[in-house]
């Protein structure tokens, strides 16, 4: 790790917490100092997460010195017996990671005391694991321990895997994906793992006909579900008009579904109409101002690639430059956004820059260009999406408005 001048990357523990936080009817009990969770909870509230209850045990010097874990037992008792929450995730904070508290053993030992509660420890700690890995492992763990053996639903159903709080705009994006799939294929969403979902929905996710993996960290869980329930999956995020159409066509072909062509036609037509004038204005601007015809994107690798394709194909950006927010997602075309790169991007006043709230603030850009975390603003589920047809209109509007800054 080392020295950071800007926000450092998030940890595996944070990835796990953010992933679990979206599950209603559950509780996350973090064993460790309470400031850890007070901070986490504030961040998640700002991201618009409404889900599980997030508790901390707090620990003192004596607990650490004596290896006393009785605080954890007391908190579990309160959560289980007084609050009546029966699915309790146990998460270590950084201090118990060092002292080596074995949460698996503790959960096993405590289980007989709480026979009607599920105590689910998560081991995604350490000091080297990145947040995306933490997300991946947590999604997989949830699929393993919570999903139940269940018959395929009679009507067509699907799951969304990977809608988690670390992805900027995760709630509106999941809603747009649900809207498109429900209307195109008359399919019902069983579980959006893990935004706005319930324990019971994760339990029944094995009954789905297909799984939509909307980020690479969800693939391990999807593979597991395919193995266990034979559920096919598709890993993709739909961006732009043609990108969304391709995605729907791919779903139709891969899962042998019957598509509502009229819905697709109407959506396509409406979207094209809505962006038409903006497309004309923007592409003319980009042709006339070659030095501005650059779209720089910094964020999750699966997000930036999709937006870059849309920008290039539909509006004619000469150049699209992508930077990922994790070293594990580097590729030939995508470099990790180091401090130096962030400072460089912020300084470069030319072209269109989309990234985290922090990066936009550094570059004195407008906050509606945000496509990644972190930021310091409050968000909600009714913001415009970035994916799908509605996302295509939103992106076009954001770029068209950006011209006003350039004139």
């Amino acid at each position: 790790m080392g020295l950071y001048k800007t926000t450092p990357p998030f940890s595996g523990r944070m990835g796990a917490l953010w992933c679990l936080s979206g599950i209603a009817d559950s509780a996350v009990v973090e064993y460790g100092c309470m400031g850890h969770m007070a901070y986490g909870r504030t961040f998640l509230n700002r991201m618009g997460v409404l889900g599980g209850k997030l508790y901390s045990t707090h620990i003192g010097e004596t607990d650490i010195a004596m290896g006393d874990t009785s605080r954890l037992t007391k908190v579990i008792r309160q959560v289980s017996e007084t609050e009546g929450i029966k699915t309790i995730f146990l998460l270590p904070s950084s201090v118990p990671e060092i002292t080596g508290i074995d949460l698996n053993a503790i959960a096993q030992e405590l289980s007989p005391q709480f026979p009607d509660s599920s105590l689910i420890p998560l081991s995604v700690g350490g000091f080297d694991m990145c947040g995306h890995k933490g997300t991946e492992l947590t999604l997989l763990h949830l699929a393993k321990v919570l999903s139940k053996d269940i018959a395929r639903t009679q009507s067509l159903t699907f799951n969304i895997i990977g809608s988690c709080a670390d992805m900027y705009n995760f709630l509106p994006d999941a809603a747009e994906i649900e809207r498109l799939v429900s209307n195109t294929f008359s399919a019902n969403l069983l579980c959006a793992m893990t935004s706005g979902t319930h324990v019971s929905e994760i339990e029944t996710m094995g009954g789905a006909h297909f799984n939509l993996v909307i980020r690479r960290e969800g693939e391990a869980a999807a593979k597991y579900l395919k193995e266990r329930y034979g559920t096919p999956y598709l890993m993709a995020r739909p961006y732009g008009i043609d990108g969304t159409l391709d995605w729907l066509t791919q779903l139709e072909d891969e899962f042998k579904l019957q598509a509502n062509k009229e819905f697709i036609r109407q959506e396509y037509k409406r979207t094209v109409e809505q962006i038409k004038v903006m497309q004309t204005v923007l592409s003319r601007f980009l042709r006339a101002h070659k030095d501005e015809s650059k779209l720089t994107l910094a964020g999750h690798a699966d997000v930036i690639s999709g937006i870059a394709r849309y920008g290039k194909s539909a509006f004619g950006f000469d150049k699209t430059i992508c930077f990922s927010d994790c070293t594990c997602m580097n590729s030939q075309d995508t470099r990790y956004t180091t401090d130096e790169i962030k400072l460089e991007l912020a300084k470069d006043g030319k072209g269109f820059l989309m990234g985290s709230g922090e990066l936009l603030r550094m570059g004195k850009r407008k906050p509606n260009l945000q496509i990644a975390s972190p930021d310091n603003l409050w968000h909600h589920a009714y913001e415009p999406p970035l994916v799908g047809y509605r996302g295509a209109v939103h992106l076009a509007t954001v770029w068209a408005n950006e011209i006003m800054q350039r004139d």
Partner: protein
């Protein structure tokens, strides 16, 4: 779950170690002291910070410098430990980080050490000692392991005390008065009357608080006297007395008419100004209200919940002068001065339960089951009719007779309201 056998009474509490949570699950609980240390550091012009800890510490805390209007006057960086450093130490890494900040122009660096560096025991203090002669930036190490305290408050007072170390020796004392714990720019709460009186008499004031500059701390040693308006500031005030011969009066913990009058008299004599006479009307009003309230509030029992920046024990001592009895007190920090306040309360036969309230919902059940006449401060049942609530969070930064008058008015209004379903509630 209403068992409170695990809690100790005031007589058995000598430090935060003996203060236990009222209910076990913190929801959401308190911020850690790093949060407040950083929020203070980032709001003082010219101060740079280096948070040393885990990704959680670095990631979540970045909102603080972002929100500060003075962030650009300093560098606010983080040093995140990896697994090797957790085992083998981070000496080399932190030295490189300090050098990098020094090269980037930091004037003073607050090295805010969080839980993990504190737990693994890296000797940051000696690193500072070793590297200080080689660099221009002044290094101040603030050890702030969250497991060593019950709340965010050490983040304030430890940081302020460290900032006192930049204060330079002054050969000549000026007429300046240090105002500790209040910003000159804050207009959302009334300015204490004493500040207005001093301003009227053209006394130069130096406000040491968020919105100050590093230079204010550097020159604080030339002051004639300091006035402390916050418990967070008393350790700095004491430090200035000890090291720079700047005496102080503490006004934040003076509630009784006598205590306030004593403090103003000390100030008057020290500054050779007329202060007491300007306060005459307020004193008379406070005196009258106190006598009336004492008749009315005698035998009233209360629970003291979240009082924000107000130190709970001195407030309880004042309430005992009104004949009120504390059943339970929520304490987020045990200050050195609390030893004396505790003794005073015990001498008056008041030995309340001491606890840490970290879960409004769960704590509410217990608070209600203890049947207090009134709850002082913020708690989960503040919108309920019974027990009534007296809000005092907004008394932050306020002192003197005017605060006592407001306090007495609030309590008497609440407790003299018609009984049984006829208008209990908060004001």
């Amino acid at each position: 779950m209403t068992d409170i056998k695990h809690l100790k009474c005031l007589s058995a509490v000598k430090s935060m170690k003996a203060v236990h949570p009222l209910t076990p699950a913190a929801f959401p609980g308190n911020h850690c002291p790093m949060h407040t240390a950083l929020s203070l550091g980032a709001r003082i012009k010219g101060v740079s910070t280096l948070v040393i800890g885990t990704s959680e510490c670095g990631y979540y805390s970045r909102n603080i410098p972002i929100a500060s209007p003075y962030a650009e006057y300093g560098l606010h960086w983080t040093y995140i430990l990896d697994s090797k450093e957790v085992v083998f130490g981070f000496r080399e890494g932190i030295i490189d980080a300090i050098r990098a900040m020094n090269a980037a122009g930091a004037k003073i660096i607050l090295l805010v050490a969080t839980c993990v560096p504190e737990l693994i025991g890296e000797d940051i203090e000696s690193i500072c000692y070793e590297i200080q002669p080689q660099i221009k930036a002044r290094l101040l190490h603030i050890p702030l392991g969250n497991f060593k305290c019950g709340s965010y408050q050490p983040g304030y007072w430890k940081t302020l005390m460290k900032l006192g170390m930049v204060t330079e020796k002054a050969d000549i004392k000026t007429e300046t008065v240090n105002i500790l714990g209040r910003s000159a720019l804050e207009d959302h709460i009334p300015m204490p009357e004493i500040i207005s009186v001093l301003k009227q008499q053209k006394v130069p004031l130096r406000f040491l608080s968020p919105d100050s500059s590093l230079e204010d701390f550097v020159s604080a040693g030339d002051a004639k006297i300091s006035i402390s308006l916050s418990p967070f500031m008393n350790p700095l005030a004491k430090y200035l007395t000890k090291e720079h011969d700047v005496p102080f009066i503490s006004l934040h913990d003076a509630y009784s008419i006598n205590k306030i009058n004593e403090a103003y008299t000390v100030l008057e004599n020290h500054l050779e100004l007329k202060i007491v006479r300007y306060m005459k009307d307020l004193k008379t009003e406070a005196d009258m209200l106190h006598k009336k309230a004492a008749l009315h509030l005698n035998d009233t029992n209360y629970i003291m919940a979240n009082t924000g920046a107000l130190q709970p024990l001195p407030l309880s001592v004042y309430f005992s002068e009104l004949g009120m009895s504390p059943i339970m007190i929520h304490m987020e920090e045990y200050y050195p001065s609390d030893v004396q306040w505790s003794e005073t309360l015990l001498d008056k036969d008041k030995n309340p339960i001491i606890c840490l309230m970290l879960n409004e919902h769960a704590d509410k059940t217990i608070i209600k089951s203890l049947c207090p006449d009134v709850v002082i401060g913020d708690w989960g049942g503040r919108s309920e009719e019974k027990p009534s609530t007296v809000q005092i969070m907004d008394f932050y930064g306020q002192v003197g007779y005017e605060r006592t008058i407001s306090l007495l008015n609030r309590i008497t209004n609440i407790l003299s309201a018609p009984k049984e379903g006829e208008g209990h509630g908060i004001i």
